[in-house]
Structures are given as C-alpha cells and as structure tokens.
C-alpha cells in the first residue's frame, strides 16, 4: 500500500486571493448598483471605483474543456476572475465598462446565454438525478436542460414582474430547495419490498423509525425477518428507501411530476414562504418532459400577464387569491391540494374572506 499522508484540514478557503482586486479593495464599501441591461450589473463603491458584472448560464456539470474555455474567456476579456452564483450561473467582473460588450460577444459566440439578472427567469437550481443520485425518480440535468431551452427567452430578457427562481428535484426529499416554481418527482405507489434482501441489508428498527406516518412494521416473510408496509397509511414519500434499498420506491410508470409555486427565500415585502402544490400527475417523460414544460410555461405566462411590478409569484397570488390562480392558469383543483399534514389546518380559510 502506498504511503498515506494525513489530510491538511484547512476547511473553507480564503476567497481573497481569488477575488477581483477591485472587489478586494472595496470589500464592504459598496454604495450603489444598477442594471444597465439583462445579464449585466453595475456596482459603484464609496471610493468611486466601479465594477461591471456579466452573468452567463452554464450546464452546471461541465467537462473540463468547457471550464477551460470559460477560464480562457476570463483571461482574454475579464481580468482573469470569475465567480459562480448559488444557481450555477457564472459571473465575470470587469473594472472597465468598455470591456463589457467584447466579453458578452465572446461568451455569446461560444453559446453561453447572457441573462439571469433582475426580472428574468434564472437558471434552475437542481439536484443530481440519474447522473449521480442513489434514489432518483428522474434525471435533473436533463429536465433542466429541456426546460431551460424552452425558457431561454425568459433568461436573456427581464420581462417578468419580479425575479423568478426555479428548482428541480428528482424525488420528494426535495434537495433542489424552495422556489417560485419547483418541479419535483412525486411517488404515487408504496415501496415494493424485496423480502429476500431486507434482513441482510437493512437495520430494521431504523427503517421503522424513519417512516413519518408509522406505516412500516417488522414482519416475518417466508420465514425470514423482513418489513411490511401498511399501504393505506403509506404516503409514498420514499424516506424508507435510503436506509433500506430493498424497499424500491422508484417506479418507471408511477413516478409522476408535481409542480409547486410561491416559494420565496427573500424577506422582501412578505416573510419567506415555502412553495405550494399546484399540479401533479404529470408524466415523467424523458428526454424532453413536454407536459412539464407546458405547465411551467402556462404558469409563467399567467404571472407575466397578471403580476404587477415587484410582485414575486407569491405576492401576486396573495393579491389575487388562490381560486383566481387556479382559474387563470386553468389548472384543476383537487382534494390533494388541501393540506392534511401536521399543522395543515393553519392553511385553511377560517374567515368569510372570499372573492366573487
């Protein structure tokens, strides 16, 4: 065995050596910003120093050739510095306004869309899916690529009432996070149990404890210790799958896609909100997920048409009310939209506040 060296436990690295010098110099001393055009931000420091940021979309998981190409563009047009946003957009910062247009041209020529700022639909925050997850009900990179092709115009233009954040998650655990519009796989069938494997693979008490509705019990099946699921209680969440892979939750036919809207992490105007279910049962259909794209585009178009300036999706819905949301988007309202989880009654209307 080769000699092993102990790791250097350096933790989170200091960003200063990798930060644009104008940003280092004016760290904590910025005074103003504006939005000259889609994909471009302008910031001015108290010292009078200026910096322009050009934001471009990426595929998030990139081959090293792409990364080297982005690095070459940084060297040639952008002082050699970049940063990434929480939604995997790349940002180039330049201290000279005359460098903005050549930079945009270089990025555009290589196929990187410029946008994602202000009232645009930003790149979709997403999870790993088939590429690397052990419990995916669908792919994530593929859903996102297919959808961003459809929403390309909304990324490069800023025509929404306010910014729109999207996320995609390949199962109900929702690693993609909260968003104005969230696209999430919804399992619709209880797990199928491979009883031959459970005893060897799963620590049964911890699987029982993991179930949020106490639907799993230990059982003897064919003389072997296994588990059983009370299918009436089961909510098909899939939480039992990670500690016990023989409880297969993914189902090529019955894993459906649900759409949720109105999540917002900012405290601006209203307090932060979680997204809420609006559509469900959409087919999980690779490689283009057309039914999902159709619903997302319908919601976006309705919001664009009806929302007022500065209203985030939830601000708009709060103003018009949920009945109007379902009416305007044409989405069906079912008993499954009524929350029956713990604390769900707080979501019910305990008033005579009704719009006619």
């Amino acid at each position: 065995m080769a000699e092993l060296r102990p790791p250097i436990e350096s933790g989170a690295p200091d960003p200063m050596p990798y930060m644009h010098p104008v940003m280092v110099k004016n760290y904590g001393k910025w005074a103003f910003h504006s939005h000259p055009k889609p994909g471009v931000l302008y910031h001015r420091a108290e010292s009078g120093d200026e910096i322009w940021t050009v934001k471009a979309g990426t595929a998030r998981q990139m081959d090293h050739y792409t990364i080297r190409e982005l690095a070459d563009i940084a060297d040639q047009y952008a002082d050699g510095y970049v940063r990434f946003t929480a939604r995997s957009n790349i940002e180039y910062m330049v201290a000279d306004g005359s460098k903005v247009e050549p930079l945009i041209k270089a990025l555009s020529e290589k196929g990187y869309p410029i946008g994602g700022t202000a009232n645009s639909v930003s790149m979709i925050a997403h999870t790993q899916g088939f590429l690397h997850c052990d419990i995916p009900g669908t792919d994530a990179s593929g859903v996102v690529k297919a959808l961003m092709d459809e929403l390309y115009d909304d990324f490069v233009k800023c025509e929404m009432p306010n910014r729109v954040k999207l996320s995609t998650s390949c199962c109900e655990i929702n690693c993609g996070g909260q968003a104005d519009i969230a696209i999430i796989v919804q399992h619709t069938k209880p797990p199928k149990i491979n009883h031959d494997l459970v005893a060897n693979v799963c620590e049964r008490p911890s699987v029982v404890a993991r179930c949020p509705v106490a639907a799993i019990r230990p059982a003897l099946v064919n003389g072997k210790p296994s588990l059983e699921v009370d299918e009436k209680k089961c909510i098909c969440c899939g939480a039992c799958y990670p500690p016990c892979p023989p409880m297969q939750i993914n189902d090529p036919e019955h894993s459906k896609i649900a759409i949720w809207v109105g999540g917002k992490n900012s405290n601006a105007r209203s307090k932060p909100t979680f997204h809420k279910l609006v559509a469900n049962g959409l087919p999980n259909r690779a490689p283009r997920w057309p039914e999902v794209a159709e619903v997302v585009k319908k919601i976006l178009a309705t919001y664009k048409e009806d929302g007022k300036p500065w209203e985030r999706m939830i601000d708009w819905i709060d103003r018009i009310g949920w009945p109007a949301f379902f009416e305007k988007t044409g989405l069906p309202f079912t008993k499954y939209h009524i929350d029956n989880w713990r604390g769900g009654r707080y979501n019910l209307n305990a008033s005579a506040h009704i719009r006619f």
Binding site: P13, P15, H20, G28, R60, A74, D149
Partner: protein, 434 residues
Amino acid sequence: MAKKMIDTPNLDELESGPWPSFVTGLKRLAKENDMMVDLMGQLETSYKDMKGYWKGGTVGVFGYGGGVIPRFTELKDENHQPLFPEAAEFHTLRIQPPAGMHYTSDLLRKMCDVWTATGGSGLIAFHGQSGDIMFQGVKTENVQKAFDELNEMGFDLGGAGPALRTSMSCVGAARCEHSCFDEAKALRTVINNNIDDMHRPSLPYKFKFKFSGCPNDCVNAIQRSDMATIGTWRDNIRVDEAQVQAYYKDHGMKGLVNDVISKCPTKAITLVASAEFKGGDKISAANLGDGNTMCIDNKNCVRCMHCLNVIPGGLRVGLDKGVTILVGGKGVLKIGATMGTVVIPFMKLESDEDFERLNELSRNIIDFFAENALEHERTGEMIDRIGLANFLEGMDLPVDPNMINAPRSNPYFRSDDWDEQVEKWNEYKQSSAA
C-alpha cells in the same frame, strides 16, 4: 482508451436547443475517457428505463470519515458483472469552495489539470446544492490521489452524512451595498473552528450553517440551514437624496406610490408636504423636490429590504449593522420543511469579540444538537419535539417577543414559576436598555 461510443438516442435529444448542454460535455469527455463512455451507457439506460442505477457504499480518504460520495453501478448482467464496467465505480469528491465562490482562471485550470491527471472523469459541477464543488466520477483506487493533490492546493473535503456540511455565503461585502457583515469571515470562523465535525461524522444528522449579508437572503439561509446568520441593522435607513430624486424623476409619483410606498409591508413609508415635515429620531426622509417629502418610520420598519431593492443607493442599510440568528431551517422528511426561528434578534458582528461570540454560539448549538437530537433528526425537528423554550434554556438565551408571530393561543400549559419568569423579563429589559 478510445472505447467505442455507445448509442445514446435519448441523450442525443438533449444536445439540441439553445441552452448549454451537459450531454455535449459528456460526449467530449467520452472521446478520450473510457469511464465516460460507460457512464453515458448507464445514463442512457436510465433514460430508457426511467430508473436510477447507482447504490452507495463506503469510500473515503485517509484520516476522514466523510466527504466522498461513493457510487457503484447496479446494472449487472446475469453473472453479476457490470454492464458498463469502466463506470462501475463513479464516486464524487465534495470540495469546499472559497467563501463566496470566487475563482481565478488559473485556479479553474489547475483544478481541471489535477482532476484529469489523477484519474478523474473530467466532469466538475459548480456547485452542489450545499455549495460544494463536485468532482464527479473517479474510481476507488484514485480517490486518495485526487484528494491529495486538491488538498495540497489548499482545498479540503466538504461534508456528507451525519456531519457538519459545507457552508455557503452570498457575494456580500465583495460586491453588494446591502452587506451588513463580513460574510466570508463569519463562514470561515464558524466552519473552520468546527471542522472536526465535518470530517468525522458523528452528529445525529446533518447540520448546515449559511450566511446572508442582508434579509434578501440570497443563499436561502432561513429555509435551508440549521443556523442562519442574516445581516441586518437597527438604526435608520440611510438616504442619498440625490439618488432618491433620480429615481423619482424616472418613475414619477405613480412609481413611487405603487412600487415603493404601497408595497411596504408595515406601511412605514408616508408622503408629507415638505412644508409640514417635522422629522424625528426615528425618521428617514427624502425631499422629492416637488413639495413632497418621503418619510420612513424606522421604528415600524421590519428591514424587509423592499424599498432598498427598488431604490438602490438612494435608500441604504443603516450604519449600526449586525445579524439576526435563526435556528432550525430544514428540508422535508420527518415533519416536513421548516424555516429557521429567530433565536437572537440582533447581535453586533464587527469586532473580534463579536466573531468569537458567533463562534461560541455555533459550537453551543452543535453541542446541544449532538446531545439532544434523536438519530436522523434535524435541529428543526428537535426544536419541534422539545419546544423552543427548552432549546433557549439549554443555550442560555433570553426569550424575546421577536421570536414569535403571536403569543400562545392554547391555554393548556403549566406556569408555576410565572413570577420568576417575569423577573427574568425585567432583568432582560434592563440589560438590553443598558
């Protein structure tokens, strides 16, 4: 090398269209890397069958217990041999990025060089949902080699499993006028002083810190971290009258009323005739130059950021800056998604002592979580189970009405020590007035 490419009709569909395609990247890598040929084979099979084919396992580096995400293929033939042997092992290294995700072009290239030279696939994700740089695709035998090189460049593994996780901070002080504290310093103070809990997973479940410079919360700390540090201020909104007037000139009375005044959630903004304007300690004012003055009642402002977002530079965060701390944000599983709850409405975060206090607080919260949470229980679920009051008591933090939306409406509680609690409140009020 140069294994024959596998037909991927489904993936090929994802090469058309205007958005940059990850499939094109995968194909480019596959031309020179057999692992990527087989990876594409497995991915195409997933697209065809609509099923995932990875399982986890235990792969790590010397000295650490987590940070590598092991993946082994489950696509096997009748003799239990992998259908796509070159990608039968396809592990990810989670690497912590520089706070704020800043890179030089040289650093990006060096990372690419190391990744390809040490047997990595050449595929990198900037970044995962917790902020890690994800070096995706390496065989078990090359994990140590790849990590060693990255580690010697100054980069360290992130978290996985029941451990402290990689953290995120917004761009903040580096480029944003709303920044209320040094986000990168806060992140590095908290993470690097608790790094043992990242590298040797021994907590009940994951624990995340996130740092946002202002209530716009660009890294989604309140919903997605067990302890959220959100920048804020407690004095008056600063006004640059020239900038406000410039906004007013562009947008007029209609814009000011509809987009600024009527969207203030606490109706803290009013218009008064400049001739009648009186001002006051808690009033920020901008003379609009047309006989009207815009007044902000800072006593009733909840620091939501809306008016500052609409008039950047014209309205600015105050000078008495600090942070609000919230605890217990998390995703789904046991009790559904929860947001963080305010546990410290305001604390200064400027001096070394302030950062030491943040550091102590974070250590105390991790310790309390480690001792009191059940297995696979997040901090938010623990607080749900034991009640916020017990958590605050354990942390020795005083109660404050900013922690609630409304007081209790349920009369079923026991209050033998009411007088003692009133005494505590009086002491708290006196100490915060001092």
